[in-house]
Symmetry: C2
Subunit: 159 residues, 2 copies
């Protein structure tokens, strides 16, 4: 992997970056055939989320070509908070240049500054490239005690 | 599975339940050889968490013999919040009586009342009993678009 060009300048996003992040997230879901409500719905949500302290985003490039979106929550096992990397995206044309690594490094440092004790990510089972990427950055897919992996389960339609 | 005895009375926990929940969570980790800071550390954390609105717990029995612990956070893809079932435990002697199902039902209803659009759980890969349990309750381990499962990844020691 090449050292990332300083011009990408990974940085903490503000509410002013909401439109660009919304576009990236919409493109992300479109690329992977996942439904998206569209950038016009995502942008006002992001503007609100990025002004509160439960969500932060790291972006790179002007205009933004990569984003990491993180939510924070409390957890009984830790004195600090737990962060979940909800989304991580680099535009297709610019992959393999270290931009994702640079964004991830800033994301981890930002989470630490905000009193986070643990960062979590859900990674698709067949996406071994992503698994290797996160393992290179200090993440593990195994329980330290049991050596077991865990699957992500979900339910919508709660009523 | 038997219909759960109404005497177990699954209900929303208050800060007054913190000591009993702390004991259950400590026993949970002890049973599964996972480190625990001890009930004396967990109890004051729970007292604080259960008075804020990012965490709720459902307990059953007096004294409590089962607990579900949930944290809520915002998410860009949903107008409402996303819930994560962080912990779910029934004491060993009382398993197989439907107490877990009753607690889970109340947990889902409580999450819905609190404006949750999605509930997430991480389930150990070899624990097919737990996977079936959650599938019976409407949870899925697969992405609806791709049919893929996802693994849980984590990192501590952020600096």
């Amino acid at each position: 992997m090449h050292p990332v060009d300083a011009a990408w300048d990974p940085r903490l996003a503000s509410a002013a970056d909401a439109d660009e992040i919304a576009r990236l997230l919409h493109d992300f879901n479109t690329e992977f055939d996942t439904p998206s409500p569209g950038a016009a719905v995502l942008a006002p949500r992001l503007r609100k989320l990025l002004t509160a302290d439960e969500t932060f985003a790291i972006v790179a490039g002007r205009p933004a070509v990569a984003v990491a979106l993180v939510t924070l929550r409390p957890n009984v096992w830790y004195a600090g908070r737990v962060a979940l990397l909800d989304e991580m995206y680099v535009v297709p044309d610019l992959r393999g240049r270290g931009i994702g690594s640079a964004v991830l490094d800033v994301m981890v440092a930002t989470a630490a500054e905000r009193g986070t004790d643990l960062i979590e990510i859900n990674v698709d089972e067949p996406d071994v490239d992503a698994q290797r990427f996160y393992e290179r950055h200090g993440f593990s897919g195994m329980d330290p005690g049991t050596g077991q992996r865990a699957f992500y389960y979900w339910r919508e339609r709660l009523t």
